[in-house]
Symmetry: C2
Subunit: 444 residues, 2 copies
Amino acid sequence: MTDVDVIVVGAGLAGLTAAHALVDLGATVQVLEAADRVGGRTRGGFTADGQWLELGGQWVSDEHTALRALVDRFGLQLVDAATSGRVVHVHDGRVVEAQALAQNHIELDSATAQFTALVEAVDMEQPWRTPDAAVLDEQTFAGWIRTVVPDAAARAQFTAACAALFVPDPTEVSLLHAAFYFRSTGLIGALRGIDRQAQEWRIDGGPSALCDRMAAGLGDVVRLNAPVHKLAHNDGVLAVTDDGSRYTARHAIVTTAPPMAARIRYDPILPSDRDQLSQRLHSIAVVKIYLVYARPFWRDAGLSGEAVIEGGPIPVVMDNTPPGYAGGVLVGFIEGADSLKWGLRSAAERQQVFVETAMTVFGEQAANPVEYLEYDWSMNEFTRGCYSGHFPPGAWTSYGSALTAPVGAIHWAGTETAREWTGYMEGAVRSGERAARDVMASSY
Amino acid sequence: MTDVDVIVVGAGLAGLTAAHALVDLGATVQVLEAADRVGGRTRGGFTADGQWLELGGQWVSDEHTALRALVDRFGLQLVDAATSGRVVHVHDGRVVEAQALAQNHIELDSATAQFTALVEAVDMEQPWRTPDAAVLDEQTFAGWIRTVVPDAAARAQFTAACAALFVPDPTEVSLLHAAFYFRSTGLIGALRGIDRQAQEWRIDGGPSALCDRMAAGLGDVVRLNAPVHKLAHNDGVLAVTDDGSRYTARHAIVTTAPPMAARIRYDPILPSDRDQLSQRLHSIAVVKIYLVYARPFWRDAGLSGEAVIEGGPIPVVMDNTPPGYAGGVLVGFIEGADSLKWGLRSAAERQQVFVETAMTVFGEQAANPVEYLEYDWSMNEFTRGCYSGHFPPGAWTSYGSALTAPVGAIHWAGTETAREWTGYMEGAVRSGERAARDVMASSY
């Protein structure tokens, strides 16, 4: 006899989705969340005047069918995230129109065409079986970009566009992984500014409101402040939390990012391929930053608020003003090594560099925000980074099959394990549904 | 008041050396070792007839001055590891003389010359300040090899030589890291078979004998079976082991491999750069395998027993017969993705592939070993791999400075932190001495 059928480790979107799916299928669950809140890599914040903002994952696309179904189910609404007006690039130190830049560079057209061919060739179920996988996985995305875009200015533009699509450091991911990622999200058109990014919608109240409702719907089976220290899985599963509490189940679904899942002590230890994979996947250090203004003044000049800034510490800025809010909200990201450097400085200094960046893009009116908000994901103890686990060279081809393979009674979920919309909230939701189905179908 | 001055996490060579150095300097120490034995990535084994063999790190070079001083101090002897006779390569499926192969390939000469120039340019104190560091760190060693050695057969030879020097998968390390590694060890000549590798000596009784004596010399301050679960470092250090035991000290030295150090829970959490680095460094999956024969028959044919085998699961084989032993001992390594694949099979199957490999190289007489021994480092719970932590692209340039930077009262040791002989036992010893000096000089 076990306490429940399934222990779910982590109460982010993947874990909450898995728990609900299991309950729907008639199983009993225990959700163990390390942090003092649910939501994982989503997180809510409020302006001084009470407006909700998202400090973590936030965007919803028309194609995010699984997430949208959850939004419906839990009685929330989507709100329009669309902005109109011109998108600008800060290119070579100058502000230029994105559209003009996009249409006028042969190297970028060629690079995008070549990359599109790579993206279309990826074997999405078994990326390590993609034609020429070994060669694609032995080079970095950055190294490949350098080869196909020799012009430094064009390369900076391409790299900035990648950062805007949540691949902030092409040095750290293999070309195969980059191709997999862009195939998974279908966002390759956005690299050339042709298509919209997957940013049509936001959840009214933020994804944290959804996670809160999902947790409330599960009731007291969600335990907060319960980091799982040990998972024994000899005969069923025994989870021991940091305070010594013990929970037993027939199965477990671990939904944390793979680098964090590796910090649980397993008994018996995990197979080599899974552990080796965990040693290689890494999350991105990122600080999400906000400037709140009295009004969205950039719209007066016909600007959308969206800007890609090459070479600076904040590669992308967007208008993130919630519909109906009187003020104007700009969101930005400081990522990778830049976020470490800026993370060591004061919030006032981070605010200052964001203000300076905004002034470069939008002019003098950006000088006087009414508020600055930020959240440093790399300093979140239970995520140590955000977006998603990225694969360095060699990881997919040597260890990729361990990403989703159950280990006895232990199953794996989380946006990293999704084949469609990996790295997005949608991927997390789909992974939770998939893991719940797998557990119920498991005869283990 | 604390229990001791310094807690040393890990009783491998780095930890034991640090502990002795601290005691020599007048400090009190507590060594906490997770496993049921000391030795870390060294490990002893015995043949059925009682002969010691090394199942982990083993080779000592003339230049390993720090390690040799320890061997002297603890009353052990070095024994000659030299072999005479011809070295062979299995190249393109055929057995050829290594010397002949080494002297006859323009591409390899050119590649070695180019790599030598890169190696000599590395800034060993701050590798991220090496000229063109960003470009060197954005490509993999394998990708670079493919460019400078277009001929597939020559490339296989170069790659096999790297494997013999403990860089089994050039896909997974950046070119900058490869250059750093070969500069650190001075072994670039060995890539072309010109110089001896760092394998002149062995420790009589094996390094495990040295570690056992070092532990005995420390007495009851070495506690086994004590995985450190948590390190609090608000005011001094509090280490909590898996069974709830608590130890306090003014400082700690963590000597485990960086991927394992990341699995300790720190309070407060580590700075972003250190955590991000830990998410990127990885250890190599490797199975060390032995065939014991009634006698070293290969010597009859003038062969040294050393062979580099391109394309097979065992890229390098060596004569590892201890001096004075009547039998003949061949050692081999199954590494990386090959070790995962072969690790899932039975010991009998691994023995069989080693026998087949030995027969290819040494003929029919290799068919009948009297014994097979093996140790799978990837399945060691507290190392999850061996050799040393390798740096993927981007890690040195973005996070390298965190490798040795103390975090308050916590210092870092282990062969990964050594600038000279990183990846070797010598690096571990030097790192332990360095960390002990740093702690004593710290005013924290």
